[in-house]
């Protein structure tokens, strides 16, 4: 075997067995319980932060499906996030459509956009694909400013979105639910739904096909997997889920503007995926926590050097936990297993 072949054949992403992509039932229930109960005891501001955390977790999860499962890189997730956010915002403000109904629309539009983008991207792989998606992310803020769409997008000024109230039925039941809390539980429900669907997708025939492509494209096609179909499908699904996260983000922040969806966001999502553990879906929560909370920690250490502090923390994590939070979780699992034996 020649060395050249060696290089091309080496999988870019470590193979992650499909069982290891999700969490055991007990751990899932504990995390779910924490997510449900915590908001009852904290300030509205913390609830808002937790909402943003869940929203970014959905976006990181979407990237994880693309990279972790099908082995394709993307630095363009911010473009799909923006597309979803604008879809929701425009439908709510210009179309007077209920916020909950705008999310599936955002998902479908982004799915189509992602699928179409996936077609030309088929010819590219590895770093070249990353560059192509990077171009998408850089182009997006400028496309949003275009005069042609200005009537709808608000151009550079952006669009202010009305925050939804909790449904009146809760008030008649005697429950006082603030806007923030309602939005949090709404986001949580959407997140759980997306998580379950994603886990099932990866365990299905399609998921196996994607992972086969990731591990060895030639072998997969020899086994009859339609490589181009599943690669573009992975792009579409990932973009669709990102779009839903974008829509939720627009509702939570109550504002969309081109400056909110720059390449910085795409890089942040990529970071979140790596820190959470590539290919490990529950890691998306940890990764999102990293991109929401660590910049605040860095800022409290030093205002002028917040970027440098952030960098140092990131390097430490990459050194100590090269597989992200997945490594931490596995370590804990082994430890618990030992205790049980004793």
């Amino acid at each position: 075997m020649s060395t050249v072949q060696d290089v091309t054949a080496a999988p870019v992403i470590d193979a992650v067995p499909k069982k290891a992509m999700s969490l055991g039932p007990l751990a899932s229930l504990i995390i779910l319980a924490l997510l449900v109960v915590t908001p009852l005891f904290v300030k509205n501001f913390i609830i808002f932060q937790m909402t943003m955390w869940l929203i970014y977790a959905i976006a990181v999860l979407a990237l994880n499906i693309l990279t972790g499962a099908s082995g394709q890189f993307s630095l363009g997730q911010s473009a799909f996030y923006a597309l979803g956010a604008y879809t929701s915002a425009i439908l709510m403000e210009h179309g007077d459509i209920n916020y909950a109904l705008t999310l599936p629309v955002a998902g479908v539009i982004c799915f189509v956009a992602g699928f179409l983008f996936g077609l030309p991207a088929l010819r590219l792989s590895g770093v070249y694909l990353a560059l192509a998606t990077f171009a998408l992310a850089t182009a997006m803020p400028q496309l949003l400013k275009l005069g042609v769409f200005e009537h709808w997008t608000g151009g550079v000024q952006g669009l202010v979105v009305t925050k939804p109230d909790a449904p009146e039925i809760l008030a008649t039941l005697g429950l006082k639910v603030s806007q923030d809390m309602w939005l949090y539980y709404f986001t949580l429900a959407v997140s759980i739904l997306i998580y379950i669907l994603s886990v099932n997708l990866l365990k299905s025939r399609s998921g196996r096909a994607m992972m086969a492509i990731r591990d060895n494209e030639i072998a997969a096609s020899a086994m009859g997997v339609d490589v181009s179909l599943y690669k573009t499908l992975a792009f579409g699904v990932s973009a669709g889920i990102t779009g839903i996260a974008g829509g939720l983000g627009a509702i939570a922040v109550q504002f969309v503007a081109p400056d909110g969806y720059t390449i910085q966001l795409a890089v942040a999502l990529f970071l979140g995926m790596v820190v959470g553990g590539v290919g490990w879906l529950p890691g998306s929560l940890a990764g999102a926590a990293f991109i929401v909370f660590v910049p605040n920690i860095a800022e409290s250490v030093s205002k002028g050097l917040s970027g440098a502090v952030f960098g140092v923390i990131l390097i430490l994590i990459i050194f100590l936990l090269p597989h992200g939070s997945r490594q931490l979780a596995y370590g804990a699992q082994r430890l618990i297993g030992k205790f049980r034996k004793n």
Binding site: N44, K145, G158, Q254, A257, P258, L265, E299, S306, G307
Partner: protein, 409 residues
């Protein structure tokens, strides 16, 4: 034992009550909202210390240094300023998070000087719903002075639209048959000022023969100027930030084009625009200003400028004299201190807004002679006066009286 203790408590309590009654009588007007106490006033602030607009981070640092100096001098009416400044990286979602943190977690009395049109738009609705002042926003977007729909939001610097209107008036009187070409940055600054120009021209809007926009991500804007020159225009308005302003002035000089040249105020710094563009190309360029440029020797003996330079040397050695953003932060901080002085012991959010809307002929140290800050219950645009200036030799020469441009009503 127990009796003794309870007697002692009763005695203490009565003393405490009595003293309370006394202080109540003496300072009957003392009123506080969240964020203000007898010893402290908490002020929140949001500035991009990181990200694409991090050059503006100096504004926050200057404000912090100024409040520190005020605290060292004993504070305002005996209260120290606790200035809490957060980074939003120029990202609207982050600005919302930081604004909520300031209001709900740090519990500040008001938020002062948040920077950037997108970030301020993102938090405006929230601040007004919470009835927390969003005071002296650091952007010239005209929409931040609409006291009717947003009574808790106030601007500070001259609105971009006023600048456009003043240019329009000048062009109409000096060159009534002129043909105007506009080069503008494709963002809120460019669009807002262009609107001001068109409003100012009114029926004569047909004087504009060409508009070219550029993106801040473009490495060079030279081709836009070649195009504009080809239209045969003899008046050029360049709505641009420093780097592009310098490129434009240089290119126009190289093309041998001699239009009546207007440069927007944001890109009119001697140190970062006129000198890099080449002094020979910069001659005769017109602009508007409201502050004195600190690096300009013509203000060396000016009283206010001396105070400013003294402040830089003693309290803000990190700031560059040529950096106009540093001057901006100083001016803003002085204005907010004036509002707090006027508010006295009535430190409620409503009163902060009321005092901010009752500034009369207030002049921060850095303002050009004749430029004064005036606000009222129906005027939420603090700085509305600008002065025309022409670049001659190595400096700007201010000419004509301060020009006022009232927006809205």
């Amino acid at each position: 034992m127990t009796i003794q203790v309870s007697v002692r408590i009763a005695a203490l309590a009565s003393v405490a009550l009595a003293s309370l009654a006394v202080t109540d009588a003496a300072f009957a007007q003392k009123k506080y909202d969240t964020g203000a106490t007898d010893t402290e006033i908490k002020i929140g602030n949001i500035i991009p210390y990181s990200g694409p607009a991090s050059a503006y981070g100096i504004i926050g640092k200057m404000e912090e240094a100024y409040f520190k100096m005020i605290n060292e001098q004993g504070g305002i009416n005996g209260r120290k300023i606790n200035f809490i400044s957060y980074d939003d990286g120029y990202s609207p979602p982050k600005a919302v998070e930081q604004a909520r943190k300031l209001v709900e977690s740090d519990e500040v009395l008001f938020v002062f000087g948040p920077l950037g049109t997108p970030s301020n738009t993102a938090i405006q609705k929230y601040m007004n719903a919470k009835k927390v002042p969003q005071l002296f926003v650091a952007t010239g977007a005209t929409k931040f002075g609409e006291y009717k729909s947003f009574p808790w939001t106030m601007g500070w610097q001259p609105a971009y639209q006023s600048e456009g209107q003043i240019f329009a008036k000048y062009a109409m009187t000096e060159k009534p048959d002129g043909k105007i070409a506009v080069l503008y940055q494709n963002d809120d600054l460019g669009k807002d000022m262009l609107k001001g120009l068109k409003d100012g021209l009114g029926a004569k809007a047909s004087m504009i023969v060409a508009e070219e926009s550029y993106e801040v991500s473009e490495p060079t804007i030279e081709n836009h100027l070649t195009k504009l020159k080809a239209t045969g225009a003899d008046i050029l308005l360049s709505i641009s930030t420093p780097k592009f302003a310098a490129q434009a002035i240089k290119k126009v000089g190289e093309l041998g084009w001699k239009p009546m040249y207007f440069q927007s105020n944001v890109g009119a710094s001697v140190a970062s625009v006129m000198r890099p563009a080449g002094l020979e190309n910069s001659q005769g360029v017109l602009s508007l200003a409201y502050v004195k440029e600190a690096s300009d020797p013509q203000w060396a003996n000016d009283e206010g400028m001396k105070k400013y330079l003294d402040f830089l040397a003693k309290h803000a050695p990190f700031a560059n004299v040529a950096d106009s953003s540093a001057e901006y932060g100083y001016g803003q901080a002085q204005t907010v201190v004036q509002v707090l002085k006027q508010a006295g012991d009535n430190l409620t959010r409503a009163n902060i807004m009321k005092e901010a809307a009752s500034l009369k002929d207030f002049v921060p140290d850095t303002m050009l002679p004749g430029v004064k800050i005036n606000t009222s219950a129906t005027d939420f645009y603090p700085i509305e006066q600008l002065r025309m200036m022409r670049f001659t030799g190595e400096k700007w020469d201010v000419f004509g009286p301060p020009i006022e441009s009232k927006l809205g009503g």
